[in-house]
Symmetry: C2
Subunit: 393 residues, 2 copies
């Protein structure tokens, strides 16, 4: 009852004043950058915390504070100056966020959600506990324990903590590979044959309202273990699509997350959907929403955490998203090859992340290609992929 009243007061307060709230974002990478770009339209006051003084968010926020978001004191001090905190990376100090939450700072997504997602072991245990379909797995402390579960092979080894952007993942095809695996706490996930990998981003507000973005399909670059092409919308039968929405919404509700949650799923040949990983923040699989959906994932995150109405997520056109990765043999000051040629093409939207230096497979930007139909967009995306390269001086 009192909670209800408080919520009503809070909502009234936020209706008129959401744009006077001091908002803090932990992380100043490309996801934060695109979030800031959108936040301009709502005239929000945003502070960024990132250890890199040249991070992509530099110069774009009201305040850019150089500091380690995994350090308790740094996060606590940063958060005490904010009314509302969110993240663009999950490797942040959760203890500080928990303390801030107790002291009345709004932390969305909530610290307990971030805690689960930070640890791939906890993630998998959470899926299991709540009946969320996922591939079989074991949790191991070290290399030695992997040898004791040969029945799990072939498998993907995923470090429980700290993996990011394709790092911290190792394929163990047979026992012979174990000696080269990570000797650290891991999830050993049975390799499952799958038809495609899809992703659904779901937004959830404090009142429990959820809304999903239409599913997208992802094509991986196995060498870099990063998404190479992403197709929107995914080609799925109606039943599978409904199941995907159901799983994503159930996850969001079970976590009680306020914000957005990206849910990556495998579609097996038997048309089963198995959750691979979740991320409680803007996600690589949602970049295309800037040009190809009625509301972007960045705007949706702002709407969700500011308790504003969620925006319609309908697809407005076919799109293919390509990550612009640093070329393999180049390191140093980035140079964009054939940028002009790429810009000549119709429906090509280039987003550079403002990173001065490139290195192999570093995410330097992305390109969303829209088209009259899927084939048209795919054909153009392939051309872009072949000509637009990030090399070094």
């Amino acid at each position: 009852m009192i909670l209800c009243l408080l919520l009503i007061i809070l909502r009234r307060f936020m209706d008129k004043r959401f744009n006077t709230l001091k908002i803090g974002i932990l992380g100043g990478g490309q996801l934060g950058r695109m979030l800031l770009q959108k936040a301009v339209d709502f005239s929000l006051k945003i502070r960024i915390l990132d250890p890199d003084p040249e991070a992509p968010c530099q110069h774009l926020a009201e305040e850019f504070i150089v500091g380690d978001f995994s350090d308790y004191n740094t996060v606590y001090k940063f958060g005490k100056e904010c009314d509302l905190l969110t993240i663009e990376i999950e490797h942040v100090n959760v203890e500080a966020l928990e303390k801030l939450e107790k002291e009345g700072v709004l932390v969305y997504p909530q610290p307990n959600v971030i805690r689960i997602v930070q640890d791939k072991g906890e993630q998998k245990l959470f899926f299991k506990k709540h009946g969320i379909p996922t591939a079989d797995f074991s949790i191991t402390k070290d290399k030695n324990e992997i040898s004791q579960i040969p029945e799990m092979l072939p498998a993907m080894q995923k470090l429980r903590k700290g993996g990011y952007d394709g790092k911290g993942v190792f394929r163990i095809s047979s026992t012979a590979d174990i000696e080269n695996s990570f000797d650290a706490p891991s999830v050993i996930e049975k390799l499952i044959p799958f038809e495609k990998e899809i992703s659904v981003i779901v937004a959830r507000k404090i009142n429990g309202e959820t809304l999903c973005f239409p599913p997208v399909e992802m094509d991986f670059n196995t060498e870099a273990n990063l998404v190479e092409f992403l197709y929107s919308p995914a080609e799925l039968d109606k039943k599978t699509e409904t199941k995907a929405y159901e799983i994503a919404s159930r996850l969001a509700n079970t976590l009680s997350i306020v914000g957005i949650l990206a849910v990556e799923m495998f579609l097996t040949p038997e048309k089963e959907l198995l959750v691979n990983e979740i991320a409680p923040r803007p996600h690589n699989s949602g970049h295309h929403t800037i040009e190809a959906n009625m509301t972007s994932q960045y705007e949706q995150l702002l709407r969700a955490i500011l308790d504003l109405p969620l925006g319609k997520t309908d697809v407005t056109c076919n799109a293919v998203m390509i990550n612009l990765l640093g070329e393999k043999n180049y390191e140093g000051r980035a140079v964009y090859q054939s940028f002009e040629e790429a810009m000549k093409m119709e429906g090509v939207y280039i987003h550079l992340y403002g990173k001065k230096n490139t290195r192999p497979y570093r995410k330097m930007g992305h390109v969303t290609v829209t088209g009259k139909n899927k084939e048209d967009a795919k054909r153009k995306a392939l051309t872009i992929k072949n000509i637009l390269k990030v090399t070094a001086e």
Copy 2:
């Protein structure tokens, strides 16, 4: 020949290095703000000069310099630190820009274009000289001279210099109104009956290539003398549309402008198009291009001045744009009424300009409403207009 060679070298240089150029923008208002928002995608280094330390561009540029863009020394000093200069307001010091241009700084639009546009008398004389259709006019020094041309009445008086956002304009219906008119150098323009007012934004590159945005239709609030509703695309017969493109392109070519030029035109009952005013910068009549055209006017300006290929300008959906003006009787810290209600509506894109204080008719933001068709968009825009209000605390 040498010029050609230089152009080729410059283009090669800019292909790889356009994002290392130091770009300066004179003016830090909402037009600059939306330009910066887009410039993020191209990772451009941008400096802003504006006299208001709380201007809309504050916190969004690599450097924000507080200074008077109409002052010779301030502009010269600012420009000397730049490789390329552009404007988001035309009331800037042209002498400094001319000197900078001579000293090798790229100034787009060129100072001679800005000089013509700054003075509404020069604008009209330019139209006349080059056979650009425009309403009859006289140029007057003071009130007294207006009395000597009763045959021009009813007329609009426009101050030759300094008018902006609906200011500096006065309607002289009969000789009785002359005593209340501005006693300053003016253009006295014969009032012409017109069916509608339209606008075409044209981009032009250094190689002479031009590309127009589809025409839009404007509905004025006569009290504030500001656009109240803007419809995209305009409903015009093919012949008139072609004529509008022809006039806009001819103007751009005659001026040899590099950048974008907004061309406002009256459509008379005889289907004649008469140029009202031009602006060599992003324009209020192009805000909707962010959501409703393949390329926005802001991106097109960047493409034009960076000598990148111009983007397709096709309309992607029907749109209505509404300026969000400060309510008549409110002054002080801005409060947005029914913001949440407006955000509940589908296809409603709100852009706030980050101005702390409101005053009557101040441009505080704009809203672009997209719809299945024109009627749908119009209906929603009317609702927005009736509920979304900017008042003060």
